[in-house]
Symmetry: C2
Subunit: 644 residues, 2 copies
Amino acid sequence: MSREQDLAPEAQPDPSRRRFLNTAAVAGLAGASMSVGLSACNQGNKAATVAAPAAAAVEEGHSPHLKPGELDTYYGFWSGGHTGDFRVLGLPSGRELHRVPCFVPDALVGWGITNESKAVMGTKPDGSLKYTVGDTHHTHASYKDGNYDGRYAWINDKINSRIARIRLDYFVCDKITELPNVQGFHGIFPDKRDPVDPAINYTTRVFCGAEFHIPLPNDGRDMDTPEKYRTLFSCVDAESMEVRWQVLIDGNCDLVATSYDGKLAATNQYNTEGGFHYEGMMSAERDACLFFNIARIEAAVKAGKFTTYGNSKVPVVDGTRAANADPKTALTAYVSVPKNPHGVNASPDGKYFICAGKLSPTGTVIELAKVLDWFDGTLPELDKAIVAEVELGLGPLHTAFDGRGNAYTTLFLDSQIVKWNVEAAIKFHAGDKTANYVVDRLDVTYQPGHINASQSETMFADGKWLAVGCKFSKDRFLPVGPLHAETEQLVDISGEKMKLVADHPVRPEPHDFIIFKRELLRPKQIYDMAEFPLAVKDQKEAGVFRDGKKVTVKIASLAPAFDPREFKVKLGDEVTIILTNLDKVEDLTHGFAIPKYNVNFIVNPQETKSVTFKADKLGVYWCYCTHFCHALHLEMRARMIVEA
Amino acid sequence: MSREQDLAPEAQPDPSRRRFLNTAAVAGLAGASMSVGLSACNQGNKAATVAAPAAAAVEEGHSPHLKPGELDTYYGFWSGGHTGDFRVLGLPSGRELHRVPCFVPDALVGWGITNESKAVMGTKPDGSLKYTVGDTHHTHASYKDGNYDGRYAWINDKINSRIARIRLDYFVCDKITELPNVQGFHGIFPDKRDPVDPAINYTTRVFCGAEFHIPLPNDGRDMDTPEKYRTLFSCVDAESMEVRWQVLIDGNCDLVATSYDGKLAATNQYNTEGGFHYEGMMSAERDACLFFNIARIEAAVKAGKFTTYGNSKVPVVDGTRAANADPKTALTAYVSVPKNPHGVNASPDGKYFICAGKLSPTGTVIELAKVLDWFDGTLPELDKAIVAEVELGLGPLHTAFDGRGNAYTTLFLDSQIVKWNVEAAIKFHAGDKTANYVVDRLDVTYQPGHINASQSETMFADGKWLAVGCKFSKDRFLPVGPLHAETEQLVDISGEKMKLVADHPVRPEPHDFIIFKRELLRPKQIYDMAEFPLAVKDQKEAGVFRDGKKVTVKIASLAPAFDPREFKVKLGDEVTIILTNLDKVEDLTHGFAIPKYNVNFIVNPQETKSVTFKADKLGVYWCYCTHFCHALHLEMRARMIVEA
């Protein structure tokens, strides 16, 4: 078997996708001498999984192209991966409309520069930022009655186990919480209603799965005894953003899903073996989709049946397999699924969770009513909740839905999307071998990970557009050096056959995303000054205010001038600049940069921000507007004079 | 006159562009009680400048839409404004293919995190970054024989007066230089050949204009005597990136242009008045396009006719108006142009520089041969080099060319592009009032700044595509809160009439850009390991190497594993991790994150990077691959164990 280094690198685009498939991902896998569960290919709907070349990828479909000035019909929320951001796309055009900084500084906005953003991001005792890197994977928005309600979105940071909340009125991050006791926080999903109170038909909790198993607490103990390492599943309050509770569990959490009735959350578990090298993490043939009985967990916390770890005050209940053998009292249920499963997705009819096998070529359909039966003691064998387990192709990762009973699963190794009918798969699994559950296959380019469709994560999946995040772009765009864009491919799924209609390059690396109708959001485009207690409400309030060595400079911006237009401070002063944008015209944003003082931030209409720095350099510094605002934008400056 | 605050803000898109035009920019200007040179409207080609509504903006043209997998035909290099980056777009699709971090940290790449990037960016004595903000405005690429040669691009940082160079083989920033003695470094342009040596038919210098006038040196002297403030024009060596020389000048530099024969550079000057409030900066009716005689300046430097300021060793020659009255010895020539001019652009035939009036509705055409005549003493009156000064419309800012004799100038206040014929304008200026120089007008949305066309900044302008950077997008995209995207509008200029074909939103705020044929670049997609002296060339070289409290961990990545897969360090160690990506497959990038240690970076195929940090937290830390690489990507981890 040849390895990667035997292949001649190519600087120019190479249209041969099969050659790439046969060398990069598959060869890499095989080269590492692993079976990756290919033996499982011998069972199931064999005819359908034979990798016949798909129809030519480029076909006629709904046009994703808008005329100049024409608005998109859907919003897309995309995670930005290790770029660390939250992105807003318009669909079907695929245009990136906004990036909301949360975990990582942003020089445009002044995120990580202003006092307000530093308070959200978190600082060290010396006032510098605690973290400047992030790795966002999954973003989901708040629900009401099974659809998005336009209040919030949440996004994870895997590197430092943080969760950020984005306000969807102003599209800004307003809270970040660092989860205790965990490492590698990965999957995230809000609940959709309360498991007990029917009046709470909206999101009040966000569930967070942690991937890496570590000693508890991770303070230097048990480092060489990996069999004691554990992960936790966390519940964060949607409003306060405090961690309500955690559950000690077996295995490593991948994705998270929640039921539409609010009763169940689940996470796909790989490495139920507790291995600490990849071979050990994939030694077992089956891992688990781990279900959480939310009402029971909260009752246990209320009853004081919890522990805590280290300095954390967060209650932790025991959700390990060994402690939850009795269904009548169990907090958790480990439904078995094949080998290192990856994605878990809730079908829009509310009935099923679908798990993708990753190292098994299968999709597993779990009926939620049966999981509840098991918790109620009426289903003797938990794995009877599995109503289908069917072959889909190599490397299944994530699944989307069209609201017409079909699922769309990405096949990482096959570089394909497989469209399959869920009820037909259930029939096939029940023994009806005439049930041809595979409806269509579409080659994508290349190595697809996440997939989602318009309204797919709601009860109102509308089956219009599907996007697929391809991890490799290789030859799809002009070459730009060794670092390639990734590809979000857009597929028209309104008909029986899938139709690839556009390639959208993205800066690495988006993982998950959601797509929903534009009517569901009503963003505000002018700030309410009442949101800012420090606001300089009028030019008359502007000026320099000294308190010993602390100087506050209150500035108002109104195109084309800052007020005051010059100010003096003394060497060694601690200077706080408070700037309010008095302009009220939509889109009339000002910036404020101070040369050599490492200061820049913007203020949108009616917004206020502040920065604090030490005046440690003598001289004249022309503070200037960095955000084009007016014909006299270049002339819009204020002079800071630092005197001895 | 109503001011902005009298207008009701609108949260939802409003298609009425005229209403916006009449309230935001124009009202803001008039509200500040300024005449902005509108009186100049009374002269010139009046019929042509009457603002008749342009034809419907959306018309048929060349399609900017590509089929999936189809490659763009042009590269675009865009500055990222106060996002601080250098962007690479594909055109005509408008797709963003890459962002090259230079002045500002980038969490994806690890720019500002790795030792190698910190060395390029510059650090404080404590090892932290000197600057984390930037404001890029203009980017231009290296030339040979009047066309791009694919070696380098340069980009400015206005906030901290830095110039960065981007290698166009790997699309990475390899050098940053901070200019001494200046503030507000704004315009930038490489030379196109040597003024003396005909064998040097390629770029060897980069010219940099500084905008803000400051005391010299800016060490606390002369702070309250603005009449002593001055700016400098700088020349940076294209290869060494050292500052060769500077010129002391009058006025504030806006844009920079260079001649195709290498003999002249120029910068448009506003605030030749030396004002320090905007009223003072616009009190004079004419400012200047300031020409530099490169050969004479370098001879003066060689002859020791220079001074230096403060700690800087850079030679500074005197280019002020007063010191350069004699054309025979002058280093500089101040050609007068109307009121606060903004852009200056070289026509592709090599004959003219065209200055845009900003606060005057005019374009000024300066014939370069005549400027050289003045320097030679054969043109008695310098302003006779002005061969046309014609009305174009309100707020002219920048000009592009189609190679067929036409210029395209943005009109900021009119929100229009005006297409005009340069030779007809010269005839009109010479007295032929039948010469209708205005060919076409196109409404754009809204408030256009920079403009450029395919190959426009070379001798090979091809007149196919034109892009225009619109500062306000207002109603052109789905609303995403108070911060709006800007719009890069794409125009088909292959015919007589301009045709708007697409709106491309961009994160604020691109300023200048260049567009050129894809054949001019040959990027490499795999690194040459010889570029990295620290490379871990083989897994056998991996391991932990201790020198007292300093520990070097050499790691090799080869999908799906890091080697070593665990390593131990002691609390308090200074740890340096050196990571080489041994994979050779194109697009097979790995990432390396260490939870809680604020480390993340990527290594492209055959690349090596290093990070240094203090092991200040006990416990187990799962270093993981952050860049999707393989079916076992999630399992690709290394365990860092920090022992007491």
